[in-house]
C-alpha cells in the first residue's frame, strides 16, 4: 500500500555506467517530481511532469533524462555517471491542491565509485 515507491533504494555503480531509477505512485496524483539531495542535505528540484508532460526542467546535465510512460510513473535515467552524481534522489507526487504539499518516496541513494 506504499504511496510513492522508488526502486532501487540503494545503487552503487562505476563511473561511466548508465543507470535508471524507477518511481511509481498509487495516489492518483497528476504531477510527479524528481529532487536531488546532495551530501550537505540540500534538496533541489530537477524535473516535474504533469500528466506525462514535462513542466519543470531545471539546470540539469542532459545526461539526466526523465521518462513518464503514464501519470503514475516517472523514471530517471542517467547516462555516463560521474562521481558528482552521487546523492540521494527523491521522487515525489502532488495532487491539484497545493496545500497538501508533496508526498515523497523513500529516496534512492546513488553512489558512483
Amino acid at each position: 500500500d506504499t504511496a510513492v515507491s522508488q526502486t532501487p533504494k540503494y545503487l552503487v555503480t562505476q563511473m561511466g555506467n548508465d543507470k535508471s531509477i524507477k518511481c511509481e505512485q498509487n495516489l492518483g496524483h497528476d504531477t510527479m517530481y524528481w529532487y536531488k539531495q546532495d551530501s550537505k542535505k540540500f534538496l533541489k528540484i530537477m524535473f516535474s511532469y504533469n500528466n506525462k508532460e514535462l513542466i519543470i526542467n531545471e539546470t540539469v546535465p542532459n545526461r539526466f533524462s526523465p521518462k513518464s510512460p503514464d501519470k503514475a510513473h516517472l523514471n530517471l535515467h542517467i547516462n555516463s555517471l560521474e562521481l558528482g552524481d552521487s546523492a540521494v534522489y527523491f521522487c515525489a507526487s502532488s495532487q491539484g491542491k497545493p496545500i497538501y504539499g508533496y508526498t515523497f518516496g523513500s529516496g534512492t541513494r546513488l553512489t558512483v565509485v
Binding site: T31, K41, S48, N50, I55, I56, Y100, G101, Y102, G107
Partner: protein, 117 residues
C-alpha cells in the same frame, strides 16, 4: 527567484522542553504556501505542518505550531514537549505554482535538531 533561509544549521533541546526553528523566505508572489518537512535518519521526508499565505491564523498540528509573519516573510516552527523521536533534519519549504498544475517546492538548507534525553 524564491529563496528560503534557515539560519540555524544545528540545534539541540532537552526532552520535554520547547524549541523554535527559524525560517525566512524571499518572494514577490502574493499567493503561496509554506511547509515544514521532517527528515529523520530513515531518510523519509515527512510533512509536519502547512500554511496558506492568505490565512492569517497560524497553523497547529498537535505539538507543532508555526508563527507566520507575512510582512516579515518569516515562518518559524515551534515544537512543544520535545520527544526523542523529534530528532531529525527539519526543512522549511516554499511552494508556488509553476503552471499546468505543477507546484514547485523550494527548500531551505535545513536545521538538524537533536533532542537530548
Amino acid at each position: 527567484a524564491q529563496t528560503v533561509t534557515q539560519s540555524q544549521p544545528e540545534m539541540s533541546v532537552q526532552e520535554a522542553e520547547t524549541v523554535t526553528l527559524s525560517c525566512t523566505y524571499d518572494t514577490s508572489e502574493s499567493n503561496y504556501y509554506l511547509f515544514w518537512y521532517k527528515q529523520p535518519p530513515s531518510r523519509q521526508m515527512i510533512l509536519v505542518i502547512r500554511q496558506e499565505a492568505y490565512k492569517q491564523q497560524n497553523a497547529t498540528e498537535n505539538r507543532f505550531s508555526v508563527n507566520f509573519q507575512k510582512a516579515a516573510k518569516s515562518f518559524s516552527l515551534k515544537i512543544s514537549d520535545s520527544q526523542l523521536g523529534d530528532t531529525a533534519m527539519y526543512f522549511c519549504a516554499f511552494m508556488r505554482s509553476s503552471g499546468a498544475g505543477s507546484y514547485q517546492l523550494t527548500f531551505g538548507k535545513g536545521t538538524k535538531l537533536s533532542v537530548i534525553p
